[in-house]
Every structure is written in structure tokens, then in C-alpha cells.
Symmetry: C2
Subunit: 528 residues, 2 copies
């Protein structure tokens, strides 16, 4: 039975309120007695918030990377802390999230020497001799240079768009990366990781249920989550697993046309390259065809290129901006209106500095007044963390030959890169040996997205447990081995197919062997 | 004359689309020719985005602290850089924003020693003897301790809610501050400054145009900006200038009743204490009466308490949580359902570490399932910058008597506090001497919000220039002296009154004298 207050509350939520007696019975008299606290009256206190008081868009948003399985992993971690012997494994292997330094990947020494000095500028007043007992000379010089750029302290708000001098370094980096195609500091926005950039773009371009955003399936769930928060429609386009997760321009155009027919404006198209969760890398032609659709339908392209450093032997990364500039040169005006927002981050690559929240967004081809809207939005959150901005500067302009840190820095980068590539192969070779599991050859990023051909009995069991079949597999994997992955249902997959995403960041190879043993037992248990 | 594409675009924007021939003329044939790039067809490229393609909520949002006057100041700064002699002043005095370290306030040494070591953990493997040539022993020990808390690297993502061990320190701080009223780590969310906390609360509680949020007038414009982004209604309640900007509980209740009558649910009530922009501090009774309204109407209270350390002699800060707990003890159940979100930050106080983006939010009295919604929202932005979290730990647990850094740390804190208080008095004394300007005695925070009784001719001139009169005064002040302030129209004020907000952070007193001279000239020029 609903209380009077709940009744009022429900009407309030429905947004169609007729204020009825009950609401006023206690409110009215109180108006008259203001001298002391109103509760001397007999008014009943209002109830607490419940989920029905919460913005539906927030309720709708899902983020599987930190979803049910990872949360369960946190519980198990706690169990192990209190009773290390209570589980069939001694520790949780966090393969659910690309968080390298949680898994003992060492930060690049040069980065940290500079950041250490930036945090304590008084040190920079010491003599080089004293400092050089603890810091390399090029780190000391870079810290002095960066400290001047940020205006003397990383503790001051910077311009909301990011420190001018750092945006200049980023623009120079992009210009070099793209073989001289010019990048302008005015087009660079420094952001707290890449997520903040995504959030800016979608809040600006999403106008409600009549706006759609093309999202690759499988996707990184940040996109559907942010879309849900912005109350706009995800327009899924499927990546072709059989062609190593590449894009299908015809399907993309069909999605665009269908959405226009439905009265939904396709405002943006998200490309994640190298792919998350797929680990695949797009060909130049695939990228050209995406721009072709974008140009004809006036769709803004979001290029999530945070894994551009994570590219394995035999694969090549094409920057979307470079491909666009080539199209513009060779096609006389046809691509001049294309608008591209390209994202990069200090969290991935060989930097792996997730906790430092550094990143940038380059806006290509946007009109000035639209850039001003981005700037206003950035100003409402004041500025990205300044040490994160400094880290972006270091990422895009590392030590050069002849610098004191150069040799060691190169070795550290190579070691991290090689370790990732080796573990990726080791893991995919293992998968290739196993029954009912099919995995594309890894090309880059930090993930494998193997396909699970699950036994019918396992699917039945999952349905019985009211779970997605791949979620059931991931749960069993976690409960039996401590290996935490994310089910494909969290990223999206073709109907009737099942996958999971695993990073290849955890050190060592024992966990891979444990997984192999679990997988065999699982299939033996559920084989039809 | 509208082009065919623009015509389509307009219909797309209107969200009511009938796909007409022109859209298909070029789209259809392209379906058939997929082998080469589609632009071999005669299709016209789509136009670029214009403001009509942008989310209206984003267009509506305003943030005066970085609005027109501060932007003009940036231009003038540039002018001075290129030609130092070209203006009637030699530098910009940024009194528009509470950004102490931009104005040469030194960071607290202890904070920075610890952060410096956290950024370069290899240093912590050195002997204490070596390290102590550059760092105090308690900073070294604290860094080791914090590094363990964050799991070995500030470069790893933390829990989205923030590092457990740091939330425990915060909870302990709040418990001590509130004379033993218990605070729980589960209720603490570490955030990127206080702004991120405000954004979480409003995105969760705003359900569109039928949701209202009570905002003090004058307010810190972050609130109306975030409300605009969330497409919900600001319900202004006026602070009583004549009673030193205190609240009027009767007016607040009237705003609540009027909004319910209009079918708008009053979901939250924002209290900024100590006040921004007013610099005023609320009495215990004023706070009790706010909770009284909150309790009877089920309104969540947002307590923006980021200036709780900035309290001047003769004033006392009452934490809203402490006042609530007292009410709950003395009023048997009447206040038990009150839900309070209290915000704090490392950007203000004597820390002034704006660029480090540290802060926390304590959720008091919320149900578990609502806390889970906050957690999900936090997880979508992964985690607050970890060094900012560490800084929160340092802010709430500074060196203690007997620690190596204690004496110096105490002195640094006292010097910053005293300098702020002295400049506040100096500035308000100056104002009190001046014609047509009326300023409350400063009690805390970092701002004065003097009232301008502008000459009729100045108001006429402003109207002629299509500006708010106080914006006109601030513009003239900027153009003539380089002093950058924010007009009252950016914060809100009683109709027909004019104000401006100035910080008292800029060092020295010459700028105050310059302002005094400008003000006299201005009044002489426009005196009726």
C-alpha cells in the first residue's frame, strides 16, 4: 500500500503533478510558525530517494569493464585478504582492464623524473650537481622548461583548453607523425584521458532521441554508456570478425540510411583504431571509405586512436587525419567539410600512465564557433589536471638521440613493447590450440577478443542461471582461477555468437596455463 | 537561399524527417558502386556543423568566471606580450578566479615533497641519508605509506570511488572535525576537484524540465551551468545582502511551494558555505532551518564547503553534517531521512592546489542503491587523478607536532592565511572609503562581492552598449587598469542591484590603489 508521501513523490516523478491536500496538510501551517523549528508541528518527514527518483539516462548507462564480473573479483580479492587459503587460487589476475601499472609494468623513468621535479620546483633551485645525484640532466632541463610553460606551478589552473606551450608540442608531434600535414595548437584540447574528450563531443552533438551515433560492434562500452547519459541513440555497425574485425562501408551506409528513414540524425561515427576490444587495425582503404560516408552525410568522425603506439610487427597504423588529408588533396573539395575529432591518451601505448589522466583531442575541420562551444564546455570543468598535461608533453616529445636519458628510455620502451607482443602471441597460440575457441591473430592494442563456441549444455546452464552464456564462462573462469575478464555481451557481438575480452598485460605465463586447464575442464564438463 | 542539403539538414535537426528525393539522388546509386570511392559519383558533400546542430543545453550553459571579461583579459595579456608599452598598464591582475598559485602563492612544501617522491618511487629505494639531502624524513615516510595505499604506482587506475586507504583518512578527518560524529569510507567519493562531485549529483537527480534545484543568488555559476547541461530548472532563492548575505528560510520554503505548484519537483538545494561569491558564513540556526525544509520536502542538500579552511577571525564555520547530526539527536526521527552531499577540495583553503584536481564528496544518509548509482557514474570516467587523491590525503592529514615538517608547515599555513585575511580587510576598507560602493565585512572564502551604486549616466552608457551596467564597470576597470574581475550579472543579484566579484589573492596593494583611482575617475566621469 502506497503512503501519501510516496503517492505525491510518484506524481512528482511523473512530472504531471496536481498538488493535493496531503502535500499541503503539513506544509501550510508551517508557513505561519517560522520563529522556531517547524518540526514542532506534526509534519511527517519525507522519504529518502529511491531509484525511481534517479535520472533514467543514468540508470540506463552500463559500463561492463567495471561491471558484475570485475565487481565479483573485488569481493574475491577481499576474501583472499582475510583468508588466503579459502579459494582455489592465491590471487586475482586482473585481465579485465588495460591498467598496466596495476600489473607491475614500470613507468618510464624519464617521465617520472620530470614529474617528480615539477611537483617540487624548489629542487630546481638546487645546483645541477646536487640534483644529478638523483635526476638525469635532460630531465632537469625539461622540468625547468615545462615549469615555465605552465606558468611556474602545476598547482595553478591552466587555460581550460590546456597549456598553450604543451598544445604546441602536441601539434608538432601530430605534424611529424602525419609526414608534415600541419596541426594547429588552436585545434588541440588537452583532456583528462580520452574519456573526457568523448564526453565533450557527445554532449555537444547529442540532441536527444533524434540523434544517433554510429558505434562499432564490438565496441568499448564507454561509448554506449556516454550515449545513454546523453539520451541519444546508438546506431550499431558490425565489424566483420571473419575479415579480422574490419569495417564494411556498405553496411555503415545502410545504417546511416535506415536511421535517416527513422527520423534519427546520424551525427557522429565512432572508429576505434587500433581496435578495442578487437585488437585489430584498419587498412587505409577501410578508413577512406568511412570518410566517404562521413563526407556525403555530414557525419562527424570520432577517431579513438589511443592505441596508436600499440602496433605489432607486420601491422601498420594509419592516422585518420593523414588519410583524410590525402583524400582532400586528391579529390578536389569533396572531403573538405569532413570534421574529425581524434583522441589520444597517456594511459595506453608504452606509457601506461592510466592514473595520471592525461590525454588530448585534435579537432580537424570544425568551424570556429563550434570550437568555442568545446572551449566553454571545457571551462565548466576548469582545467585538466596539469601534471597530466605535462605528461602528454613528455609522451609526444620523448628524449632524443644524444640526450642523457635516451638510451635507457629507448630500452624501457622496447622492453614494454616486446613483452606485450610476446604475451599476446603466447595467449593467442594457446587459444588456437583449444577446443571451441577461435581467436584472430593480434595486430595491436592491449586485448584479445576470442570467440567462444560454447557447448549447448553450458548455454542451457547459463540460461537457467539467467546469465548471458559468455558471462557464465567468465564467471566460472573467475571463480575457478581468479582470472578476471569481461564477457563479450559487455562489448556487443553478432547475435548467437559469444566472446570475451582479455588483456595480455598480466606478467608471466602461468596464468595462461591455468586458463588452458580450466577451459579443458569446462568443455569436458559441458560437452554435449 | 537554402541549399538542398541545408534543407535536409534543417529537417534532420528538427527531428521530423521525411527523406526526400535530394537526399537519395546521390545516396541510392552509390549503394550499387562499392568497389571504388563513391565520390566518382556526382554527389555533393554535406555542409559543416553550425550552432544549430549543437545540443541546446550546451548552448544555454554560461560560466562567467571564464566569460567575456576574463577572455578579453587573455587578449590584453597577449597584446602586452607582443607590445608591453601599448596599454595603460604593464600587467593583468587576475582577480576573476580563485587561482592562488597563478598569483605566486607558494605551495605547501610538505605536500610537494610527498608528491615529488610519489611521482618517482625509485627514489624511495635510496637510503634515507641520501634522500634527506633533499626531502624531510616525514615526507619520505608518508610517501612510502601512500605509495603502498595506492598499490605501488600513481600511474595505475584506482578504484573509481577513490583509493580505499585515502577514503579512510578522509573519513577520519571528518569524524574529528565533527567532534566524533562518525564518517564512513564507503560514503566518501574522491573526485577531480569539487566540480566533478556537483556534476555527479546533478546528473543523477536531474530528470529534465520537471526537476528543479534551489540555487542561492548570488551563486557560483558552476551550478547554473551544470543545471543547464542537465536540462533542469534553477530555482533561485535570494541571500539577504542587508543581513550579510544570510539565508531566509521562509523565502526558501516559498520557492519550494511555488515550484511544486508549477509541477516542478524541487530535488536539491545548494548551500555554499563559506559563500562564493559573497564571502559570508552561515550561522548554525540558518543551517538548521535549511535542513528543516529539506526534511519536510525530501530535498537533497548539496553543501559546497570548499572554503571551510578560509574562515577569518571572529567568524565560525559550522559543518552542515555536524549540524544535521545534532538535529537528528535532538528531534527523534524527524531529520533521519535528510540526505546531504558535502563537497571539499584541495583547490582552496591554504592548499590552493587548483591544478592538481583533488577533492572529495561525502554522501550522508543516502540509500545503498543510490550510492551504487554514484559509483557507476564514477566508473564511467574510470578514476580521479591519483596524485590528486594523494593530495586529499595530505590535506586532511597534515604533519603533526613532533614531525620533521611540522614547524615549517604550520608557519607556511599561517602566512598564507594571514596574507589572505589582511588583503581582504585592506580591500574592503578601501571599498568602504569609496563613493557608490558598499561591501560587507569579509568573513571568509577568497572573495568580496561589493555592491555598486552606479551613476545613472553609467547605466545609460551600458544600455547604449547593450551591456549589463556592472559588466560595463568591470570592462572599464579592466581596460584602464588591467584588473580582471567578474560582473555580478554572472552570479545573479537582486533586480536593479549591481555587484562584482573580486578575489583578494593578487599580491601587494598597489593594484588596490590603482583600483581606487580608477573608481574615483569613473564616478567623476559619469556623475549625474
Amino acid at each position: 500500500m502506497m503512503s501519501v508521501r510516496t503517492g505525491l513523490r510518484t506524481r512528482l516523478n511523473s512530472g504531471m503533478i496536481r498538488v493535493k491536500a496531503p502535500a499541503f496538510k503539513f506544509a501550510m501551517p508551517s508557513i505561519t510558525t517560522t520563529s522556531q523549528l517547524r518540526f514542532i508541528t506534526t509534519a511527517k518527514p519525507a522519504p529518502k530517494l529511491s531509484l525511481e527518483d534517479v535520472n533514467e539516462n543514468v540508470l540506463k548507462a552500463k559500463y561492463a569493464v567495471r561491471g558484475r564480473i570485475p565487481m565479483r573479483a573485488e569481493e574475491l580479492k577481499e576474501t583472499l585478504r582475510t583468508d588466503p587459503k579459502s579459494l582455489p587460487f592465491s590471487k586475482i589476475i586482473s585481465a579485465n582492464i588495460g591498467n598496466p601499472q596495476q600489473l607491475d609494468q614500470k613507468p618510464l623513468t624519464f617521465y617520472r623524473e620530470v614529474l617528480s621535479l615539477l611537483q617540487h620546483p624548489e629542487l630546481l633551485e638546487e645546483t645541477d650537481a646536487t640534483l644529478q645525484t638523483l635526476y638525469k640532466i635532460d630531465a632537469i632541463q625539461r622540468a625547468r622548461h615545462l615549469l615555465a610553460k605552465v606558468g611556474g606551478s602545476v598547482g595553478a589552473y591552466s587555460q581550460s583548453q590546456g597549456v598553450q606551450g604543451i598544445r604546441e608540442t602536441v601539434a608538432q608531434f601530430i605534424t611529424n607523425r602525419d609526414d608534415g600535414e600541419i596541426s594547429y595548437p588552436e585545434d588541440i584540447f588537452l583532456t583528462a584521458g580520452a574519456s573526457a574528450g568523448v564526453s565533450y563531443i557527445l554532449s555537444i552533438l547529442c540532441k536527444g532521441q533524434n540523434t544517433g551515433v554510429l558505434i562499432p560492434i564490438p565496441q568499448y562500452p564507454l561509448y554506449t554508456a556516454t550515449l545513454a547519459l546523453n539520451n541519444s541513440k546508438a546506431l550499431p555497425y558490425y565489424l566483420k570478425e571473419e575479415e579480422n574485425w574490419s569495417t564494411d562501408p556498405e553496411e555503415i551506409e545502410q545504417v546511416v540510411l535506415d536511421s535517416i528513414k527513422k527520423g534519427i540524425k546520424p551525427a557522429c561515427l565512432v572508429v576505434i583504431n587500433p581496435g578495442n576490444p578487437t585488437g585489430a587495425i584498419l587498412s587505409e582503404e577501410s578508413i577512406q571509405k568511412i570518410f566517404d560516408v562521413a563526407a556525403r552525410y555530414g557525419i562527424v568522425v570520432i577517431a579513438d586512436e589511443v592505441y596508436q603506439e600499440n602496433v605489432f610487427k607486420g601491422s601498420k597504423f594509419f592516422s585518420m587525419k593523414k588519410v583524410l588529408r590525402n583524400l582532400q588533396k586528391t579529390h578536389h573539395g569533396l572531403y573538405d567539410n569532413v570534421q574529425l575529432a581524434s583522441l589520444h591518451s597517456t594511459s595506453k601505448g608504452v606509457s601506461g600512465e592510466c592514473g595520471q589522466r592525461g590525454g588530448y583531442m585534435e579537432l580537424v575541420g570544425f568551424n570556429h564557433d563550434i570550437r568555442q562551444v568545446f572551449l566553454k564546455l571545457a571551462s565548466i570543468s576548469l582545467c585538466p589536471v596539469v601534471t597530466g598535461q605535462a605528461l602528454v608533453d613528455l609522451m609526444v616529445s620523448p628524449p632524443q638521440p644524444g640526450d642523457a636519458s635516451y638510451e635507457q628510455d629507448q630500452k624501457e620502451r622496447k622492453d614494454i613493447h616486446d613483452a606485450l607482443e610476446q604475451r599476446a602471441s603466447k595467449l593467442s597460440e594457446t587459444f588456437s590450440r583449444l577446443e571451441g575457441i577461435d581467436c584472430r591473430k593480434p595486430q595491436g592494442a592491449m586485448y584479445l577478443y576470442p570467440r567462444l563456441d560454447l557447448p549447448y549444455k553450458a548455454i542451457q546452464k547459463a540460461q537457467h542461471l539467467d546469465m548471458e552464456p559468455d558471462e557464465f564462462y567468465c564467471q566460472e573462469l573467475l571463480e575457478n582461477t581468479g582470472i578476471c575478464t569481461v564477457p563479450g555481451s559487455g562489448f556487443g557481438q553478432a547475435p548467437g555468437t559469444y566472446h570475451l575480452r582479455t588483456t595480455f598485460l598480466p606478467p608471466g605465463t602461468e596464468w595462461v596455463e591455468t586458463w588452458e586447464k580450466f577451459h579443458k575442464d569446462f568443455y569436458n564438463q559441458y560437452r554435449d
